[in-house]
Subunit: 317 residues, 2 copies
């Protein structure tokens, strides 16, 4: 059995692979475009290339690799290694583990991409002191993962953790009710754009060179740090909503902590996270949970690779 395991973060746009040691250190990496439009076989070929690229980058031999863990988007049947449904790859009931195992001649295990990110933070990141935690990632969308009793929790339909799709504004019009509807980067950027177009002044106009269709996390960070009033108001509102969803989850599950990551969180940092914490404290129940730590993710983009490699080590070794 090899001493290293490979973690793969399979996204709709990019594939990242890393060779990971038993101390969770990423020793070597590779990254390629997914080219999902090319179909399943093309994507498999590109995953295999990325995995082999990472091994090569580490000047290792395939015999040193114990197995490959993949975080893939959508609902995953981890026992079968199947992607049940991944909208952005257009995959349905695709036997990813089996196909890739043949392609690479290495054992393969699969889990959901947000789950593996959560797992990375749980074993080697901000949640490593806790046996139970919520992982929540605020970026283009909002995803979540649950660690319960020291294991990832998948649920009956293999879709657990969909915190972005929980309703927090039940009286709002359709399309403005869920956490993702009102607090993802996409929804925040759209709302900012429409406010600016209806004559609200904002530093974002200058920061984006007037390209308001393209308000990315970096632009939000610059506007937030320059204390642009419109951006600050909007992002404190999203922090309020994120805090509510975390409070709801910890209230329902009596979890001892939450780890917050994703592009928006990383761009805005502690200044923003303290507003999330304030909202959490206001809304959580009972008071015993007031002091649950709401932690910033520590692994950033590596959370998926580290988590997937650790799942491979546990499941395949």
């Amino acid at each position: 059995m090899g001493k290293y395991f490979i973690g793969v973060d399979l996204g709709g746009t990019n594939i990242a692979a890393g060779v990971v040691g038993d101390d969770h250190a990423v020793l070597a990496r590779d990254k390629k475009k997914t080219k999902a439009a090319g179909g399943e076989e093309r994507v498999i070929e590109r995953i295999a290339k990325t995995v082999l690229g990472a091994i090569e980058a580490g000047e290792m031999d395939k015999s040193e690799i114990g197995g490959v863990g993949i975080g893939a988007p959508g609902a995953i049947d981890i026992d079968k290694g199947e992607v049940i449904n991944a909208v952005n790859l257009r995959w349905n009931n695709y036997p990813l583990a089996d196909v890739l195992q043949k392609e690479l001649d290495l054992p393969v295990t699969v889990d959901n991409d947000v789950n593996v990110g959560t797992w990375g933070e749980a074993v080697a990141g901000a949640g490593r002191k806790y046996n139970d935690m919520l992982g929540i990632f605020v970026g283009t969308g909002i995803g979540g993962g649950l660690v319960i009793g020291g294991d990832l929790y998948h649920g009956h339909h293999h879709t657990a953790g969909e915190i972005g799709h929980t309703v927090i504004l039940g009286d709002a019009p359709k399309g403005r009710r869920t956490l993702e509807n009102v607090a993802s980067r996409t929804s925040t950027a759209n709302l900012l754009k429409s406010l600016i177009l209806s004559n609200h002044a904002s530093a974002l106009t200058e920061i984006t060179d007037g390209d308001l269709d393209n308000i990315r996390s970096g632009a939000l960070k610059r506007a937030y740090e320059s204390r642009d009033p419109l951006t600050v108001e909007m992002l404190h509102q999203t922090a309020e909503y994120v805090g509510i969803a975390i409070a709801n989850t910890l209230t329902l599950l009596s979890l001892p902590c939450a780890v917050v990551g994703g592009g928006v969180t990383e761009a805005l940092g502690e200044d923003w996270l303290k507003w999330v914490r304030k909202s959490f404290k206001t809304h959580v129940f009972p008071h015993e949970l007031d002091d649950c730590p709401i932690l910033a993710s520590e692994l950033g983009d590596d959370a998926g690779v580290v988590g997937a490699a650790d799942l491979a080590r546990r499941r395949l070794a």
Copy 2:
């Protein structure tokens, strides 16, 4: 070891005890007032009397009883058998299992009252075909319990299941944000009262003989069944909110079913529950969960006694 187990439902007002066979049938019962104001020792004495009363009612001998399970309000440490905090009994860190064990000379186990009701429905009621479920009880307040992987789920602070305290109207004023704030019988009755006092016509005025401080489930049932427009509108709104909270829970945990009970649910029946289901379907994610059954509780007031007795059988036998 005795062949029967006793389940006790300890409420702020009443104590109900039942002798339960291994087929979950309640063979004999007794009921007394809690008299919580009399202090802990008085309540213990009354629990013991109720337990012995149920044994006597069944013409059984104490030697036939294998143990006693109690559902108590508040946060419970099930390993220690302690009531950590029960507001309506004014108990803090009270070693209920130990004290009652000495008083009765029978082994005793304790769990939260809503948990034991959920467990009753899970083992002998509407949820018996499912290994995972949400139990939600809509009455004076709104409580919930979670069965995950065939076991009650308690969480890190022993307070899991507090669905009534999750926020579903994040933009509403304080006191109107949580499920319990807007869908318990208490909140529904208060809102109806204030609407009627501000000159909205309602059959409730006649049904309650003008005593609008006392709109109980029976009055709601009569007004709802007579299609009083104000009551119907209000109760369909509460059904919408209850459906949202169930959807949020099943979305987050990917559970295969929910069982809905409590005084309001039992009074209004399937006519009301179909509005809960409609809301659930609108709000749950992903579509794989659309068809999860939202079931009416089957055990009614017996759920707690049956669940507590079964927990005693499992933990003490």
